[in-house]
Amino acid sequence: MSFLNISNLEKSFGPTRVVHDFSLAVEQGEFISFLGPSGCGKTTTLRMVAGFETPTAGRIEIDGRDIVRLRPNQRNIGMVFQSYALFPNLTVGQNVAFGLKVAGASRALIRARVAEMLEMIGLPDLAGRYPFQLSGGQQQRVALARALAVRPQVLLLDEPLSALDAKIRVSLRAEIRAIQKKLGITTIYVTHDQEEALSMSDRIVVMHQGRADQVGTPFQIYNTPATRFVAGFVGALNTVQAEVIDPGTGRVLLAGTEAVLDRALPAGQVTLGLRPEMVSLGPAPGRETVLRGRVVEVDFLGAVIRLKAELGGEVLAFDTFNTSQKAPPRVGEEVSVSLAARDLLVIGPPA
């Protein structure tokens, strides 16, 4: 049996149901992300685990014990908030010590644990500072140390990096992940940022309209999205209409060119998805299907150049890397692009 078990969890606010029949089994030490747009129910689900919301139905078990009836302060769960929520009247050291003090730990233990935690987050000299004297990134690290100081069974993070600027966000996510791995603490991480979810998680739960659309590793979520929503929300995606010629072998007519997907397809029209990085400008080894068309848009992003080309009535976006030897194609230029038919995703009908 898993360490954290959520089964058939439901939550309604009045007549509005915000979480539908949510089930998830989390292994000890696993890092799980809840990914989805705002209003998808990810934060509500997290808050039910923390005890700040009462489920309308369902069970939440940690280590075999049902915690739904426990108050938040009885659950032994660490929580990190988007707004840091450090106690403004306490110093960094006192903030980290807060949970231990409440639990009645001895003074020696508190002192040792606070020093250990501040060492872990790389701020050993700031114990005497007040929160308002710290930068956002430092405050959030202190908040993490405070949550971990009581050695909680589960760590919950509610969009902890959303209030920080881009550079700190990237460095801090690596730091959080490293600390999580080192302590081996079971973690749920709520985010709307797919890059965060993909780079940090063992598994991702993609949520949409109160349901878990797909649960899987970042690789699975990205490469084999289960629903149209997951395909569109995680990563950039081209969608093209194709006509199925032979449902058995998956032969389709795509932008006037035949391609074989090598898997069974429904007869008639299908929507196919293709990641921009699965398309090459010009011929490429292993990408046997070649389409011809003209460039309609060029976005120079630095390392990457994102192009859009019209190919037989369909517009495909795709990426090439920048090189100093060759200027990117111009708008209106005739180009050929290549892709592998195996990389085409079949997108289900809209939910």
């Binding site: 923390a50 005890g51 700040f52 108050r71 938040p72 302060n73 009885q74 659950r75 032994n76 769960i77 660490g78 929580m79 908030f81 707004s83 929520a85 450090l86 106690f87 403004p88 009247n89 807060f98 949970g99 409440v102 639990a103 007040y130 929160p131 308002f132 004297q133 908040a143 405070r146 949550a147 009581v150 919950l156």
Partner: protein, 259 residues
């Protein structure tokens, strides 16, 4: 042109407020014929009844402040946290003491808590003191509640509460260690206002027949010439000291919490 008019308005205002005060101070110094002296103050401060009534009022003020803090901080906190929709109504309720005259309040008390009622608070000295303290708390409620509520607005009550809860804290710990310290400045300014109100209050104390400073002030005013002026100046000084302390405390912390 408008400059001149604003100067005139300002001067008029200053004269309007300052002149009676200057007159009172001047008069209080004239007890000794032909020269200025502090005789009136010396007499007042030496009067045992002054010391009795003043210390009675100070004790009552402190008790009122403690009771007021214990009543208002958890209430304002709870309203902000759990019943935000009731906030305008609660605020309106706390303003009622400004609208209802103290004389009405005290007659209500006397009807409800007289010796033949089911809760005869006026039957004992202690009970009457308690009743007087409740009355003072009611009178200072608008100021105390507003001050605390404003203090709570400056912190993220909901998230701080949740953070403390997730760290294992119960309600009492949250109130004592997280909420109260963060609204302490607001509580202090409410407390100083309460102090000023209680020291000068007359109606409740007189009608409940308690030996407070207000009735003593009135008694002196009716029987003496120079001493009441000295007393009035002392009362003013106390009030101003309280207001100065509010300023001092709020400036002191504004410096500390700019983030």
């Amino acid at each position: 042109m408008t400059r001149i008019w604003s100067w005139i308005a300002l001067t008029f205002g200053l004269i309007y407020f300052a002149l009676p005060l200057i007159g009172t101070v001047e008069f209080s110094l004239r007890m000794r014929r032909g020269e200025y002296s502090f005789d009136a103050y010396r007499k007042v401060l030496a009067d045992p009844r002054f010391q009795e009534t003043f210390s009675y009022s100070v004790v009552m003020a402190l008790a009122t402040i403690v009771f007021g803090v214990l009543l208002v901080v958890p209430t304002a906190y709870w309203v902000r946290l759990k019943l935000p929709r009731l906030r305008p109504y609660v605020e309106f309720l706390t303003l009622m003491p400004l609208v209802i005259p103290p004389i009405v309040i005290v007659f209500g008390y006397l009807r409800l808590y007289n010796t033949s009622s089911w809760l005869p608070l006026t039957g004992t000295t202690m009970g009457t003191n308690l009743l007087l303290m409740f009355g003072y708390a009611t009178l200072s409620l608008p100021y105390m509640y507003r001050a605390v509520d404003t203090g709570l607005r400056s912190i993220d009550v909901g998230t701080l509460t949740e953070a403390a809860q997730s760290l294992g804290a119960g309600w009492v710990t949250i109130l004592a260690r997280v909420i109260l310290p963060n609204v302490l400045v607001a509580v202090l300014s409410g407390a100083f206002l309460t102090f000023a109100i209680v020291i000068g209050e007359f109606v409740l104390a007189a009608l409940l027949n308690r030996p407070a400073f207000g009735p003593y002030l009135q008694l002196m005013g009716a029987n003496r010439a120079y001493e009441p002026a000295a007393l009035a100046v002392i009362a003013f000084a106390i009030t101003w000291a309280c207001m100065g302390l509010i300023q001092l405390v709020s400036r002191f912390t504004r410096h500390g919490r700019t983030a």
